[in-house]
C-alpha cells in the first residue's frame, strides 16, 4: 500500500468523485417480461443440485 502515497499528498477537497466515465442518468426499462433461461440447462451447470434447487453444504458462520 506504500505505493499509493503519491495521491495521499494531493488536496482533493474541492473535487467530486467520478464513478462513471460517461454521464448518463435515468436509464430504465419497461416492466415487461423477457424470456427466461432454461432451468435444466442452468441446473446442469450447477456443482450440485437437488429437487430443482442449488444444493450447498450447511450455511454456518455467515450473515443471516
Amino acid at each position: 500500500m506504500g505505493h499509493f502515497s503519491d495521491i495521499d499528498a494531493l488536496d482533493l477537497d474541492g473535487v467530486g468523485p467520478m464513478t462513471q466515465p460517461y454521464p448518463l442518468i435515468n436509464i430504465m426499462r419497461e416492466d415487461v417480461e423477457l424470456p427466461c433461461l432454461d432451468t435444466d440447462e442452468v441446473l446442469a451447470a450447477a456443482p450440485a443440485s437437488d429437487e430443482r434447487r442449488f444444493r450447498v453444504p450447511p450455511i454456518i458462520g455467515l450473515d443471516d
Binding site: 500500500m1 505505493h3 499509493f4 503519491d6 495521491i7 495521499d8 494531493l10 482533493l12 473535487v15 467530486g16 468523485p17 467520478m18 464513478t19 462513471q20 466515465p21 460517461y22 448518463l24 436509464i27 426499462r29 433461461l37 432454461d38 440447462e41 442452468v42 451447470a45 450447477a46 456443482p47 450440485a48 442449488f54 450447498v56 453444504p57 450447511p58 450455511i59 454456518i60 458462520g61 455467515l62
Partner: protein, 479 residues
Amino acid sequence: MSAIPSTASEIAAAVIAKRITARAVIDDYLSRIDARESEIHAFNLVMAQEARAQADAIDADIAAGRQVGPLAGVPIAIKDNMCTHGVETTCSSKILEGWKPPYDATVITRLRTAGAVIIGKTNMDEFAMGSSTENSAFGSTRNPCDISRVPGGSSGGSAAAVAAGFSPVSLGSDTGGSIRQPAALCGVVGVKPTYGVVSRYGLVAYASSLDQIGPFATTVADAALLTEVIGGHDPMDSTSIPLASPSLLPSVSQGVAGMRIGRVTDLPAGAEPAVEERLDRAFAALETAGATIVDITLPSLSYALTAYYLIAPAEASSNLARFDGVRFGLRVNAADTNSMYGATRAAGFGDEVKRRIMLGTYALSAGYYDAYYGKALKVRRLIAQDFERAYEQVDAILTPTSPVVAFKFGDKVDDPMSMYLCDIYTIPTNLAGHPAMSVPFGTGAHGLPVGIQVLAPALGEQAMFRVGGALEVAAGGAQ
C-alpha cells in the same frame, strides 16, 4: 476460386459476391491454426466443428438469396471472457474451467447477425488481470513475432491470433490497456472504443467502470468495420450510451489535413529510446500529411497508475465475489458453505487475481474507503478534467502505446510494479472513458513491433480513425 483474402472487408466482399465460399475461408484459416497453433497457443478452444457449420449456414443463406451481414463468412476469434452460449468460457481461470454459459454476450449476437464465423476462444491473463498473458491458468501465449517473448496482455491470445494469421480479426477487452498494449507488442491494430459505445452485457466483468470490448485487426479499416458492427446502444447494459452505432469507415481514409494533434510534454518518462524515436517519426508523418502538432500538458497523468490500481481491484474484488462455487464453475467441497467459499476460491484463482482481490477489498474497507477508493475516484476526475482542457486545443493526442517492445517470458512476472508500468500510457484513457487505438508503426529494439497510440475525446472515434488511418499509410501498412 480466388486466394483467400487476409482482411475482413475483403473476405466479406468476396463471400457476398460468391467469389469464394465461407467454408473455403474457414477451412483455410483452420489450416493455418493447425500449422502453428501448437507453437503459439493463442487459443483456449478452437471451434472447428461449430465454425464449419456456421460457415456452411452462411453459404446456404447466400445460395438461397437471403440477406447476409457485412461480415459474412469472416472468421473471428473471441477473447475467452465473453460469454458464448453453450461454448466454454473460462477467462483462462481454473474456477471457470469447463463452464458453458447459457447465454450469448451482446457482441456475440451482433457478430452472428453480421454473418461472422466464430473460430475460437482465445487465451488471456486470468480474469483480464495482467499485461503479458503469463497469468493464464492454461499456459502462456507466444508472440508470433518472436516466440521467446510475450504477446502482451491481457488479450494476448486475440492479438497473437491476428498477428499469426489465425484469424483476420478478433475481439479483446481493455480495462487498462489490454487491447492496445498487446496490439502494439504483436504489431497489429487494436481499438478501445469510448466507454459505453460497445455493450458489456456478457463480458465477464473485471472493473465495471473501465472495461470495454474492442477489435484487433491487421488494418485500420477492418478495425473500424468491426467497431461499427459491435458498437451502438444496447438496452441490456445501463452504461451503454443511447446512440446508434457510429459510422467510422469513411474516416479511415479522410486524412488529417487541418487536424490539431497533441504532444504530451509531461508524459511520464520511461519509454525505450527506439519507441520514443517511433513517436517522433509518427508526429513528423502527421505533420507532413497536413496536421498541426500542438504541445499540451496532462499534469494529473502521473497519478493515473495509482488511481487505476485502486479503482480496478476494488471493483474487481466485488465483481469476482460471485465465483463462490454455489451456482456454476469450480466447487471444492467442504463441511460448511463458508469453508467451501474459501477452499473453492483458493484453488480456483491464480496468484495475481488473489493479489488484486485482496488489494481491492482493502481499498473499500471501512475506515480506508475515503483514503483509497474514494480518493482514487477524485483523481480520476482530475485526469478527466486535464483531458477536457487539452481537447479544447487539440483533436487527438499521440503517445507511445507501450513504453517497451515485447519482453521475454519471465522478465516481469516477479516484479508486479514493473508489469503494471507496461500500461502507463494506456490507463489514463480507461479512467477518462475515452477511445484510443494502437497502430503498428515500424519496429524498435530487436526488430520488434512498436505501436503508436491515438487518443481522442469521448465519442471522438471519427477523429481517432482519421489519425489512425493516416499513420497506417505513413507506416506503409495500408494497401
